[in-house]
Every structure is written in structure tokens, then in C-alpha cells.
Subunit: 274 residues, 2 copies
């Protein structure tokens, strides 16, 4: 059995909502939906892998349709296969997508390629006839753990949202079984954010833990001011205080915040993440 | 007099050629051509600003047409004007283009916005009725210097190109008056690159100086091996030895190469360039 990619399709769809975090509002946000169509049948149905990109980054339609999908369509199909020749090889496909790309300038391109990559892995798992988490564990000679950590990321700002609505939102997450919830900070004055945090902590009590996310908004002075406020509370983590590429800010902040800090969501290359 | 942007147009055009450097070949390369159309007349003709992006990065058609041009078209025109209201304000336009963009992930997006930015500055200079270099000098309270340093960037690899053809190419640059020429390295074994460099140095003699460009290809070990070879010659500079984001490589390389080194062409944010 050989496997061929017969088409790569992309549509850009609006995912608008009135929410905002400290940096952006989502009212014009779009996302890419990608389908990697294969010639392979499983249970009588054609295998199609699906991918989408995260909200917060816009749809990558042009890059996918004009640059990356043609590279897959034009590639020698035999060079996209694993050694056994019975499934696609995601690493070879990634290399094909990134052929003739200059080093540096990772960003939109990584999102476009990553969205196709997600669809490819989905197809590979479907062709292999097993869940992707299990397939990945086997490739890396680990035991697959079907349990994963999840948390509810919410607490956005939106027009007319007051403390009781914020508390109600968090109560809703608890009702659905979450035991870690996250809220946005940095989109309001610090005193108001403190009141928002206290309201949520009062609401969730001992039933859940609270993480906060500034979405890269703060300069060092503001990040430290927030650190001094936040360390009064038993938070799960303090996320993305400053610009994702401001490694010096992140390092300096550790002097002022003893608890866990999170960052890295907006780094797009292994060079940046070293 | 007020100024309005009435349209932003983009076309993606192939700029294919058989040349290659150490990293990419240019046979499928594209570029974006952008026109910022205003409602302003000068000498009886409508003012249109033009921009294009560098070769080496592909056309950014999708991003420009789907994401950035609509932001300009939908913006309040009065918020794109300078204080006097008699010309466009490139900084306000840039902020409008970058509204709701997440920090981090600079790359294609910077190229897309930069191409529009170039067209905007072209329109601004045309509306002001003076050359852009002079307009920029006046804004920064400097004396405009009409003389600029230029060099001929060539010496690419391509099929069938031998040393005599490389020498002939460099001779052509000298004939056109260049006194600094640049050639690609890193796309051939080091001994072959040494022979190419010696051939060019013999050709240009004392009439010009030679710079070399590895286009980010080398790991530290190779970058050092080349440094040890290159320091035998009086080069104008040694450009982009390693990955543009590998600042540690660049710093370590300084221990092995005493001459001038160049890099930064593939950094896309002030955070990366600090």
C-alpha cells in the first residue's frame, strides 16, 4: 500500500467574538482550516487529515494556498513516504514545505506550516488506525498516558463585563469540572485587576487554582509592579508578562516574583526557544 | 488640502532565476508589488506610492490583500494624517496596520507591512514634492547626503558556472564602476570556495574589495573552519555565517575572525536586533 496526498485545501474563516485580552481584541480574528486529502481508504472512507491554527494569530490562507500547498502538490509522492512506504512521513513533508525558506523571520510562516503539519499528523494517525497520542508515544518509545492536564482559559475583558459576571464565568468552569482556571490581566488599571483577581479567588475558593495572563503587554516597570501585587496571592502561574522576545525582562522579573511563571507561546522557532 | 488613501493594491509576481546561494535557490521566488493609491494630484497626475519586497523572501500577497490592506481601507482617513493634515503620517499608518497583531512571531508579517510602508513613504515624498532621502533628513534634522555606499551583490552559484565565468561576472561589476563586490560562499566544499575567492581576488586586484556571504548556512564548527580560511584574505566583510537568531555563534565567531562581520538582514523586529 502506498499513500498519496491528492490535495491540500484551505479556507479562512472568521472567529470573531467581542472578547479582548491586554493586547488584542478578537472582533476581526480569522483562522485557517486545512484539509490534507489522501488517496487512502479506511473503513471504506477516504482518509482526510484536518488542521486549524490557534486563535490570536490570523488565518494564513495566502501563505498556505500560494506557497506551501503547491510545494506538497508538486513534490515527488515517493519522497513523502516513510521507510516502509505504507504511510506519510511528517518529517519529510515538513522539510518539503520548508524547502527554499530563508532562516530567520519565523512567525506567520510557522503558523501556516504548523497548520498543515497538524493535518498531516491527523492523516498519519488515521491511516495507522490508532489515536495520535498513542502513535506518538510509540514512535518515542514511551508509554502513552491517556490523561492530560487541562485548564479553562477565560476571564477576558469585554464591554459591560463586571465582577459578578467574571465570577459567574469562573463558577461555570468549576461546574464543568475544571480545577485550574485562567484570567486575563493588564487590560485594566492595576487596582481594578487586583479587585478582579480577589473576586475570582473568592469565587473559586479551594476548589480550583487561578492563573493570570498579561499577553505580553507589560514593560519591565509595569511587569514588576504587577509582580509585587500578584505575589500577595497563591496563583497557579503568572503568564507572559512582557514581550515574548524580551528574555532580559523575563529574567529580571524572576527577582520579583517567587511563584511559577509561564511564557513561550509566541516564540516560533527553536532558535528563539533555546 | 487633505489626503486620502483610496486603494491599496498588491500583485505577486515571479522573479525566478536559476541562481542559488548557500541556502535557497531562486527558481520559484516571488515578490509583492504594492501600490498605495491616493486622491491627491501632483502636476496633474494622481499620486501613487509604490513598494516591493526584497528577493529572498516570497511575495506576501495573501497577508497584504486579506489582512493589512483592509485595515487601511477601513480606517478613519483623518487618523492617518499628519498634524498639519496636508500629508499622510507613516507612523500612524504603521500603527493602523499593526493593530490587533500579537507581539512575537515577526517575519512574513513584517515583510508584508514593510512593503506597504515603503509604498506609503513613496507617496508621502511625492505629495511633499521632494526626494524621500531629503524628506527623511529634514524630519530628523540632518543634512541630506546625496551620496550613498553601494556594492554589487553577486557571485551566486548556478549550474555550469566555473571560475572563469565567476571572474567574468566580477569584471563586469568593475566595468560598471563598482569598487566593492560580494560573492556567495557555503554552497560548495570549503576548498572549492577558497579557489573561487582566490580567483575573484586575482580578477579584481586593487580595483575593488571583496565581501563574502554564507547566508546563514553554517553551524559553529563550519563557521569557524571558514573563518580560519577567510582570514588569510583581505576581505571587506564576512556576512551571515550562521543562523540569524544564533547570537551565541556570532559572538563566538569573533574569537576566530578579526575582520569585519555583517549580519542582521534576517532579523525582523527591534526585539531581535537589540
Amino acid at each position: 500500500m502506498s499513500v498519496r496526498i491528492v490535495d491540500v485545501r484551505e479556507v479562512t474563516k472568521p472567529i470573531s467574538s467581542p472578547i479582548r485580552n491586554a493586547y488584542i481584541d478578537f472582533s476581526k480574528m480569522t483562522t485557517s482550516l486545512v484539509a490534507v486529502v489522501t488517496d487512502t481508504l479506511r473503513d471504506g472512507k477516504r482518509v482526510i487529515g484536518y488542521g486549524f491554527n490557534s486563535n490570536g494569530r490570523y488565518g494564513q490562507g495566502g501563505l498556505i494556498r500560494e506557497r506551501f500547498a503547491p510545494r506538497l502538490r508538486e513534490a515527488d509522492p515517493n519522497k513523502l513516504l516513510n521507510e516502509a512506504g505504507d504511510n506519510l512521513d511528517p518529517d519529510k513533508i515538513w522539510s518539503t514545505l520548508m524547502a527554499n525558506e530563508k532562516p530567520g523571520g519565523h512567525g506567520e510562516r510557522s503558523v501556516a506550516v504548523g497548520t498543515i503539519d497538524m493535518a498531516v499528523w491527523d492523516a498519519v494517525a488515521k491511516i495507522a488506525g490508532k489515536p495520535l497520542f498513542q502513535l506518538l508515544a510509540e514512535r518515542h518509545k514511551r508509554n502513552a498516558n491517556p490523561r492530560v492536564f487541562v485548564y479553562a482559559a477565560g476571564g477576558y475583558y469585554y464591554p459591560g463585563k463586571d465582577l459578578s459576571m467574571l465570577r459567574g464565568e469562573m463558577r461555570g468552569y468549576l461546574d464543568r469540572g475544571y480545577n485550574v482556571v485562567k484570567m486575563k490581566i493588564g487590560g485594566a488599571p492595576i487596582a481594578e485587576d487586583r479587585a478582579r483577581i480577589e473576586a475570582v479567588l473568592n469565587e473559586i475558593g479551594s476548589k480550583a487554582q487561578l492563573a493570570v495572563d498579561a499577553n505580553g503587554r507589560f514593560d519591565l516597570e509595569t511587569a514588576i509592579a504587577y509582580a509585587r501585587m500578584l505575589r500577595d496571592y497563591p496563583l497557579f502561574w503568572y503568564e507572559e508578562a512582557g514581550d515574548p522576545l524580551d528574555f532580559a525582562l523575563q529574567a529580571a522579573l524572576a527577582e520579583f516574583y517567587p511563584g511559577p511563571m509561564a511564557t513561550g507561546e509566541n516564540l516560533f522557532s527553536h532558535q528563539d526557544a533555546r
